[in-house]
Symmetry: C2
Subunit: 207 residues, 2 copies
DNA sequence: CGTGTTCCTGACCGTTTGGTCAATAATTAG
DNA sequence: CTAATTATTGACCAAACGGTCAGGAACACG
């Protein structure tokens, strides 16, 4: 939004270190639960030093959110009419599942924020996100009109993809508590399950 | 667990008032985020009065969790072999969806707890919940063997039901931000969507 | 009524928390 | 090397927090 200041080498490195530590702490403690001391410890810096690079705890948090929200939505933006509709949608779900496996902290960061009412990113949800989702829903309605996918509610389809994939990151401890998997092995089972689930949901039925 | 003390009329009323207020606050602020002052305000009692009825903030929270967890799992316990398998499973999903509509705070309370690593109910998850889920998964495997439902992974099916239904409670603000529904109208659409989704997933295919 | 018990609260306490600041150390530029 | 700039920190502060306690109010019961 603003013109970026000319960052020194040290500034760049330390700001990244702080944001990485903040992601670690905020994602598992939520905004109120996290403390600057925790973040400072995780970053290997002193607390006053954190506040030399960021004006406040809130500033660290909001910078994290806004930086990550964009990349978080990239897979949905990539959903377009370039391939077979059913493969496109299943591919989107699988990409989201991979993100739950590879970036669970980011998922949990947003989960915490939204469960608690999204006080700091409600604008983003009601604005850009809503527009993006509506746009993809329109695309799906075209596919339905062309008979390429079954008649299902596009919005709720998107919700169900978010829910089923993010579940493996956000409720990770529950999944692990029940399955007791070796490492990330269960993600392959989840991928197979979701592929089958959505393929069946999307395949048009003979009339 | 303990023999219950003989509760006076006032004790019963105030403990209920406190737990209701605590549910309101804890569910939207998580444990660390909630303060005794907030709960006292919501309950219409003074802070020392809260601590007259409960020994600590933690005690209020854990009592809430353990009290609610049992009823929370009732729908899953009710899943049995009494009816048509597909109707049973879809009925379970719809019951969970109704709970998301009617008791969103309870859902969010657990969501907050689990996203943050379930530090206070991990035993419950790895113990009784795991046992219950495994038991229902066995039931489903029997249905699969009998050819009554399609071949899908029972555990991941249960996860997907949890995820898709609780999504409407836990991520309520996101859903509302995108759909801008009138009241709870969108829950009927969600019910229709989920019914179709899981019916297609469960209906056995001709070989 | 009196008296024992339950209920309630204002004032207070120690700790944690986000944040400040003056002083010092490290780095960079000429 | 020197001087200016940037980076770092120990000591500190005010507010918020969970919790305590002595004493008084309300209530139950004979």
């Amino acid at each position: 939004m603003n013109a970026e200041q000319p960052q020194t080498r040290i500034q760049k490195k330390n700001r990244e270190t702080i944001l990485e530590a903040a992601l670690e702490v905020f994602s598992s403690e939520s905004f109120r639960g996290a403390t600057l001391d925790q973040i400072a410890l995780a970053a290997g810096l002193s607390k006053p030093n954190l506040l030399y690079y960021f004006p406040s705890k809130e500033a660290i948090y909001t910078e994290l959110l806004s930086t990550l929200l964009d990349t978080w939505l990239d897979p949905l933006r990539a959903l377009d009419g370039s391939g077979d509709p059913i493969d496109e949608i299943i591919g989107y779900a699988l990409r989201k599942l991979e993100m739950s496996r590879d970036f669970p902290r980011e998922s949990r960061l947003f989960a915490n924020e939204i469960v608690q009412g999204a006080p700091r990113i409600l604008d983003q949800i009601e604005g850009p996100l809503r527009t993006l989702v509506d746009q993809k829903a329109d695309l799906m309605r075209h596919w339905i009109a062309e008979g390429k996918i079954a008649e299902i509610d596009p919005h709720h389809l998107i919700f169900s993809i978010w829910a089923t994939t993010q579940h493996y990151a956000d409720f990770n401890v529950q999944v692990r508590g029940i399955l007791r998997p070796d490492g990330d092995a269960h993600f392959d089972d989840a991928a197979a399950f979701l592929t089958a689930l959505f393929r069946r949901a999307l395949t048009p039925r003979p009339d």
